[in-house]
């Protein structure tokens, strides 16, 4: 399956400013952890914006980093992928339920769905196309990318792929059990046709066994790659920004990997 990568965006601590992010991904600068600023999803009306959580804002801010010229809102589909969803919401709901009163607010509840970020994005963008929200544990980045590429292959149109993870609040007991160390969101717009600013094509092959997953060319990014299931997508983003013609190997279910060939 071969598709065009028409735009990409990434957000993480220390990867906020676009110019700095680009030079880090190109290997000109080292990545260093920096506190995340409060992200503001400008595209949402104020009443909706107030209801968003840091995880939702991370996903939306990442999509905001893409150019937003959608030709046809009806045929743009979205694939949202997150292994663990919104720990802050799980923590608040489960805490509330452990008290005798068991009071959950309506906003807390409607933010608890795994497709919360997708729902807010559709409200912001008015895109009425198909939208899925998936989880596949450690294989989440690759499974989401596979679903997005498959949608383009079978149904055509443009697919906006957004993968994101957000750590549990440090005050939450879930923090001890979570494998997510840093927030990270990656957004990729793919299609069967090349747009003006297309970065190249991507071909998926696999799954295969007995291959080693790719690491980041800039070793300072390694902590980010290993910090969450979405981190497995970092070598792909690095390759696309470096405009290198190469293959990256990304973990899938079990011990399998996908081989992704990039051409420009």
């Amino acid at each position: 399956m071969t598709v065009y990568i028409n735009d990409i965006s990434v957000i993480a601590p220390g990867l906020i400013d676009k110019t700095i992010t680009r030079s880090i991904l190109q290997g000109e600068k080292n990545w260093i952890y920096q506190e995340m600023p409060k992200l503001i999803p400008n595209m949402l009306p104020a009443n909706e914006r107030r209801r968003t959580t840091p995880m939702i804002r991370l996903a939306l801010a990442c999509i905001q980093g893409l150019s937003s010229d959608y030709n046809d809102l009806q045929t743009t589909s979205t694939v949202f992928a997150s292994s663990d969803g919104d720990f802050e919401i799980s923590d608040k709901i489960c805490s509330a339920l452990s008290n005798d009163e068991k009071i959950i607010s309506p906003t807390l509840f409607h933010n608890s769905v795994h497709n919360s970020a997708a729902g807010y994005w559709s409200i912001a963008s008015l895109i009425k196309g198909a939208s899925t929200s998936i989880s596949a544990g450690n294989a989440t980045f690759m499974s989401g990318l596979q679903e997005a590429v498959t949608q383009v292959e079978v149904d055509g149109g443009t697919v906006l792929y957004v993968a994101y993870e957000y750590p549990a609040p440090s005050s939450s007991p879930l923090d001890r059990y979570s494998h997510i160390k840093y927030p990270l969101a990656i957004a990729i717009r793919i299609g069967k046709q090349a747009e003006n600013k297309a970065l190249g094509t991507l071909t998926l092959e696999g799954p295969e066994n007995n291959t080693k997953e790719s690491v980041c060319r800039n070793p300072s990014l390694e902590p980010l790659r290993t910090a969450s299931p979405v981190g497995h997508g970092m070598p792909l983003i690095v390759a696309l920004v470096r405009r290198a013609r190469m293959q990256v190997i990304i973990p899938y279910l079990r011990d399998e990997k996908f081989r992704i060939s990039i051409s420009h």
């Binding site: 209801r51 799980s90 769905v113 899925t132 596949a136 294989a139 499974s143 279910l253």
Partner: protein, 395 residues
């Protein structure tokens, strides 16, 4: 949009409060008998009717998969061991190979009940239980991973979690993976089990009825929550000659509100029309629609408007949530299997519990289960976040 290559439904299993297996659901439908009961449930401090699967209490997860143990995966296991489903999967494994059968499942809350219990444990003992396993229970992928391991399948797949449309969308995902050659067949399904998050959550939105739920009734006042599981073996139609086929899917977003449907049903109309386009059928050829029909004021009104826009007021339809309750992330698979049973058994399910039809909706559901043989049926599922999915099944 391209027409779909139909896929055959070659095996299926269904478990809900009407009982274990197809026969129990068929009996309930034929006898207009609900699985919902007004009863207490541990931890619940308000009155409502529930669709409980009591048999969950009497089974255990396979010892080698013990870390997946939670109410949701127990319910999955119960369904997998019902209706000879295992035997059909074993046969598919022989025909296609274990790497060539995908697993696509939907759930809205997975095993979050384990995390609820862990917080409750902490409230009393200041610590989480020793055996708490976030990734293998609470995580949305737990169900997909458990089903793959339990069935010994090594194909592609993922868990879809788009609230109450989750296990409808699995048909679209599985279809795309099959036609793009990434697998030859797929298990599609869904499971949602009772948990405090959804019970108290829907109650906070004042959407839970104290009475038995009455879809499309003038006095409807909310949902009853039920738990359910269902799985289907989906194969290219050539392998399932003479079986009911999955013919079309339509997926859309309301782009309107997180928990209220678009008042005119705009998103639903897109999903319904796309499903018909893919099935190469027009509105006159859809002979029955299984409604999402949750029995909330807003859902039923928006859905009725969307149906009226596509089919007019003569459409034959019903909500079967009066039988099973709203099974949330399992509603898609539950109502897909009910729609398939309607085709196979030559019955159209009644809209149980409706006493006084809401005439303002203009769409009037079938009051009782009726004998009729039909060619093509549709089922609708709509979820929070404005996520819509329509599916078409037929001969």
């Amino acid at each position: 949009m391209k027409a779909m290559t139909p896929m055959a439904i070659t095996a299926k299993t269904i478990v809900n409060s009407c009982g274990l297996g197809e026969a129990s659901t068929i009996d309930a439908l034929r006898n207009n008998c609900s699985g919902l009961k007004q009863r207490a449930y541990e931890g619940l401090n308000f009155d409502t009717w529930l669709g409980i699967v009591d048999e969950i209490e009497s089974i255990e997860i396979e010892p080698k998969l013990a870390r997946y143990s939670c109410r949701n995966n127990l319910l999955a296991k119960l369904a997998l061991q019902t209706d000879n489903f295992h035997a059909s999967v074993e046969s598919a494994k022989l025909r296609y190979g274990v790497e060539r059968v995908g697993v696509f499942v939907g759930t809205s809350t997975s095993g979050i009940a384990e995390t609820e219990n862990a917080y409750s444990h902490m409230h009393h003992y200041d610590t989480f239980p020793d055996n708490f396993d976030l990734l293998h229970t609470h995580n949305m992928s737990s169900l997909q991973s458990y089903v793959q391991h339990s069935l010994g399948l090594y194909g592609p797949g993922h868990a879809i979690s788009t609230a109450c449309s989750s296990s409808a969308k699995v048909f679209a995902a599985a279809y795309r993976h099959i036609v793009s050659g990434q697998c030859d067949a797929a298990i599609v399904g869904g499971v949602d089990s009772l948990c405090m998050s959804t019970l108290y959550g829907f109650n906070s939105l004042q959407l839970v009825s104290k009475e038995i739920c009455r879809p499309f009734d003038a006095n409807r006042n909310g949902i009853n929550i039920g738990e359910a599981a269902g799985f289907i073996l989906l194969e290219p139609a050539t392998a399932g000659h003479g079986k009911v086929k999955f013919k079309g899917y339509g997926e859309s977003s309301d782009a309107y509100h997180m928990s209220t449907p678009h008042p005119k049903g705009d998103g639903a109309v897109i999903a319904i029309n796309d499903a018909m386009t893919r099935a190469s059928l027009d509105a006159s050829e859809i002979e029955y629609v299984n409604l999402h029909g949750t029995a909330t004021r807003n859902n039923d009104q928006a859905e009725a408007r969307s149906l009226f826009r596509v089919f007019g007021d003569k459409v034959v339809c019903s909500s079967t949530k009066g039988f099973t309750g709203h099974t949330l992330g399992a509603a898609g698979i539950t109502e897909s299997i009910i729609s398939i049973l309607a085709l196979e058994q030559n019955i159209l399910p009644g809209n149980l519990n409706m006493q006084a039809w809401d005439e303002t909706l203009r769409i009037k559901p079938l009051e009782v289960t009726t004998k009729r043989s039909v060619e093509n049926v549709m089922t609708n599922n709509f979820g929070f976040g404005g996520n819509n999915c329509s599916l078409i099944f037929g001969w």
